[in-house]
Symmetry: C2
């Protein structure tokens, strides 16, 4: 196999209370990535025209270029890769855009190398790519992007990703077009937290995981409360409280910030619910003339998909 084409999907990290340890994979949006072996031992990045094509094409500045360069070096390959990236996931939106490109490239190259890499190595190279847009290494986007479904990131080093079997849920996602960099959103976080807040948070985390695995919608609903991160990060998102209120009022199981924001997601039980809820979330930004991208998606249980 000399070339491969794949979809690397968007992901929602944190899922409210599970900061840095929970992530879920979406059907849409996604990046479309094509990787071709080339005889020169180099990496060429082409950004295919799309709404979000404004990405660096210098390989060592591109989240997909970095894993490609590292794999060529570490495996002493005598060939290179041309990588065509059509971004479908908004940049700096909190939807795992960098992670998708990085994971998609590492995953795709592994296929071109006849699965030479272990799962752990794929994640490791993808994390190196993602690192240029985020200070710390965490796999709450890369894990669910590769594996699909609902993932607990138990540990990053050594890597322990736990795939949790859950039912079908629907996501309404809205990305207001404002700039919130992952770095900035991280820098806002407190270094220390009160033990009593941590206890409330881990009560919710335990309940949220059990809510999903036992398909207990009421439990998911009452567990999607974040005492630590949301109060700080939501301040970076205009009209956040209103968007959340309208989602919950219209039947969302829960609503929170996707990753480091500014995207906001809500979960519901049916496609119809998620459609109605999304339209209500959109109304809030319409009223305030804030432009946005919005997505409806089922939970994606496959992860990266080869075309």
């Amino acid at each position: 196999m000399d070339s491969i084409k794949l979809h690397a999907p968007a992901t929602i990290a944190n899922i409210s209370c599970g900061f840095d340890i929970l992530g879920i994979c979406l059907d849409a949006p996604y990046d479309e990535i094509e990787i071709k072996k080339i005889s020169n031992k180099e990496v060429i990045i082409n950004s295919i025209k799309s709404t979000f094509s404004d990405i660096p094409v210098i390989p060592n500045q591109n989240t997909g270029g970095i894993p490609a360069l590292m794999i060529i070096k570490d495996y002493s390959l005598d060939f290179g890769f041309e990588i065509n990236i059509k971004k479908g996931i908004p940049l700096c939106g909190g939807l795992g855009s960098s992670a998708a490109t990085a994971a998609g490239v590492a995953y795709g190259i592994n296929k071109l190398l006849n699965n030479k890499l272990s799962e752990e190595e794929i994640v490791k190279y993808a994390l190196e790519g993602e690192k240029i847009s985020s200070k710390t290494l965490h796999a709450d986007n890369i894990g669910p992007c590769i594996n699909g479904g609902f993932v607990i990131i138990k540990n990053t080093n050594p890597l322990e990703l736990i795939n949790v079997s859950i039912g079908d849920y629907y996501f309404s996602v809205i990305h207001p077009k404002i700039k919130v960099s992952t770095k900035m959103a991280r820098e806002l976080l407190p270094e220390n937290i009160k033990l009593k807040d941590a206890v409330k948070q881990w009560g919710n985390i335990a309940s949220l995981v059990y809510g999903f695995t036992s398909d207990n919608v009421n439990l998911i609903k009452s567990s999607m409360e974040d005492y630590i991160i949301e109060p700080v990060r939501s301040k970076l998102i205009p009209h956040y409280d209103k968007v959340k209120e309208s989602a919950l009022k219209n039947g969302a199981i829960g609503c929170s910030i996707s990753g480091s924001g500014p995207s906001i997601f809500s979960i519901s039980e049916s496609y119809e619910d998620s459609k109605r809820i999304l339209s209500e979330m959109e109304k809030v930004f319409n009223v305030h003339s804030i432009s946005y991208n919005s997505y409806l998606s089922k939970i994606n249980k496959r992860g990266i998909t080869i075309l």
Copy 2:
């Protein structure tokens, strides 16, 4: 019904990483409690001779007396209760001894009142009783004592106890006869913790809950690691590291401090394992001439049992 007799079982709070939010119910040891209606509007506490009968018998100083007094007052009862308590659970051992008496009395009186109280009220009165031996209100012993099984204490106010359905596990419990008061063990705890430690902890909590619900013994094993509480509290327990090491070396799935200690528990998959492991844990204290009580128990899925 004018009298009732019941067993109020010991419980293991925290289960390693789940400080204040996880608890499990044991078959043994337990308190035997008899409650009789009496015509005088008063509470009489009798401590029945046992290894641990050194408890206060003044009602407002007894963890069972307090809920009885409160219920008489709140429900304007025109009768009282004689309460005979035969303690089977060591006091100040970290095995929910106060909670068992408090919960047993509140639960038993509710039966004598033809289930006048809601589950929430039973827990509320039991918590008031437990409060005299612990500064803060938390239901990680009372919840599993009443309901049995594995319980997530999602919230104490308003009360939200989540009964988690899990398989059969066996517990080896050893209680070194040294004094560690719950108050003292609480005062040792840090007020603030690092966010990055909290994240590691909640990664384990999420994984532990999923490990139990999916009967994944390897996941339970790797999740039973406590970054916050064990490092501080284990210092109060002589030879803790050795006891833990010997339990793990002999096949325990996990080993940690029960509640605020000094009891140490380990989990295993079979009665045979738990027996062998307990004997190895005992050896450590034997070598150092520390006397102890020890117990073998299956997970108790019933909770308080009426005789």
